[in-house]
Amino acid sequence: MTASELDVELTHVSKSFGMVRAVDDVSFGVGRGEFFSLLGPSGCGKTTIMRMISGFEAPTSGSLKIRGQDVAAQPPFRRPTNMVFQHLALFPHMTVAQNIAFGLEMERLPKAEIGRRVGSALELVHLAGFDRRRVSQLSGGQRQRVAIARALVKRPAVLLLDEPLGALDLKLREEMQLELKRIQREIGTTFVYVTHDQKEAITMSDRIAVINGGRIEQLDTVSAIYERPRTAFVAGFIGETNLLRGRLVEAGGETATVAVGEARLAVRPEAPLPRDTEVLVSLRPEKIRLGPPLPETANRLDGTVESIVYLGSHTRYRVQVPGVGGLDVDVQNAEPAAPHEAGRPVTLGWQPAAAVVIPQPSGRAE
């Protein structure tokens, strides 16, 4: 991706509010037509990043480009970005059509063109025929669509969405996720999407920047974030995982050995690591096989089933392994009855590539 194809580019951007460093040296670029998500817990600085892109806050330091142009001097109403606000911020004194037309009227477009574009925006969000309704006469999902139409009708270079689905119930939220994805594919606009819901980010995004405490922990494609988390925070925040603390006792070649308590685990680090490195081994519950081990399984641990939770599509077992600790294991419910009982001894097995090795900076307690 060359620099000219980047719709948004942040370079060493920081933002402080008094003593609070809300955004700390953040750099990233969003490619044209990309669905890019900022994912992180509450208060990590997601909204602040969005407000800097849209122009409501000025960075304390660093530079910000939109379509290759430095926008430091541009007020929000001059920037080629539009925002879908967390609480939508639809104008209550206007109808649906008036809300959507507002941005076009600000551009002083001819009436006929405004009418045409409002019409096609309503069609895009499947709200044709709702133009004369008042905002108060719409359901939550419909309001959502109006907010999206109002921003998209401006044909922005970048659409910014700040947790736009936060107020909806789960079912509607999942529906709107697919809907947003469809709209984005249809018009090909660059989307920058903020959420604290990792499932939502995984469902919709091309790439995700995981943010923690104002910094980017990892910026990667969705599958890389899930399969190869680079920090314990990312491993724990995206999906669920077992984190085992250990020390590299044997390095060399593709595989290495990590001592976790009394157990010796074969792992495959991304990059060669020196001996005696303190590491965390992240092992997803669905990557562990429970039951009679296949002959080629490199890692085996014997334990006892402590608890069983039936979760519909799968069952979650908590297995106590002496000298290592408790591990969560998911088993797909291919058959109706759970095959294991609490208190029974079981064997866990997985391949070296199933686990991710996260080196720990020495002295840092996690």
Binding site: F77, T81, N82, M83, Q86
Partner: protein
């Protein structure tokens, strides 16, 4: 039992509050020249006489003109002041707020004297401008209070949304902020109108001889020729004031947005 007591007490309070006003209204339709009770007979004669007295009609007109000008000015200034006081964070914001509110707290007689002193120092005696200025001053705190209340209950992201969609500050104010605080603005306008229409003290001190508003007219009638015309004229004022309050109530109740 408690209920009956409560009701009686409420009645007493209302009686205390409204009996004098009710007396004025009753006496305005009393056939006799004298304020006696029970009333010997009913008549609208005093209204006829009052409304055919050119000086009373002229006073009513003067009051209306002053009140319209003063309330429109107070509302425009007060609305902008409220926006600045609520939205902007500047040094001396609290001081500015207190200054605007002071006419509510400082005794009116002192404000009247201050205005009089100012107008004589500036050699700017009497006339509409100084009367209107005084009334604007008295109306401002009401406008600012009502409009500020509206602004505080207002989702600021609406203004950000407008700016995000391409509206500059002025158009954001005209297209989003103003329509949404409009019930407050209209309420402020009506309150400022009543404040001006009813004002006596400030007008009395600064008006000079050629401006006679309704309250001044009533006062001079009381002193020189007592006549039940006064009751009729007062009832007209009461009626205008109360109807404006009803208009205000109706406007704020029909409020759909907040």
């Amino acid at each position: 039992m408690v209920n009956a007591l409560q009701r009686a007490w409420t009645l007493l309070v209302y009686l205390f509050l409204f009996a004098p006003i009710v007396m004025v209204v009753i006496m305005s339709v009393n056939r006799s020249r004298y304020s006696v009770f029970p009333v010997p007979g009913w008549s609208l004669d005093w209204y006829r006489q009052a409304l055919s007295d050119p000086s009373i009609v002229e006073a009513l007109r003067t009051s209306a003109v002053v009140a319209v000008i003063a309330s429109v000015l107070a509302t425009s200034i007060g609305t902008l002041a409220a926006v600045a006081l609520v939205r902007l964070r500047f040094r001396l914001r609290k001081v500015a707020h207190a200054a605007f509110m002071s006419p509510l707290i400082i005794p009116e007689i002192i404000i009247a004297i201050a205005l009089l002193t100012l107008s004589t120092t500036l050699d700017f005696r009497g006339g509409y401008p100084i009367v209107v200025a005084g009334h604007v001053l008295m109306g401002l705190p009401f406008v600012i209070t009502v409009v500020s209340a509206r602004l505080y209950g207002f989702d600021q992201s609406l203004e950000e949304a407008a700016r995000d969609l391409g509206a500059d500050e002025v158009r954001t104010f005209l297209r989003v902020t103003l329509p949404l605080v409009l019930p407050g603005v209209v309420g402020g306008l009506l309150l400022a109108f009543t404040v001006s229409f009813d004002n006596f003290l400030v007008t009395f001190m600064v008006a000079g001889s050629e401006i006679v508003t309704m309250p001044l007219k009533i006062y001079s009638m009381l002193r020189f020729e007592f006549s039940p015309k006064i009751h009729a004229a007062s009832t007209v004022i009461i009626f205008i004031t109360i109807s404006l309050l009803f208009v205000y109530r109706a406007l704020t109740r029909k409020d759909r947005y907040l």
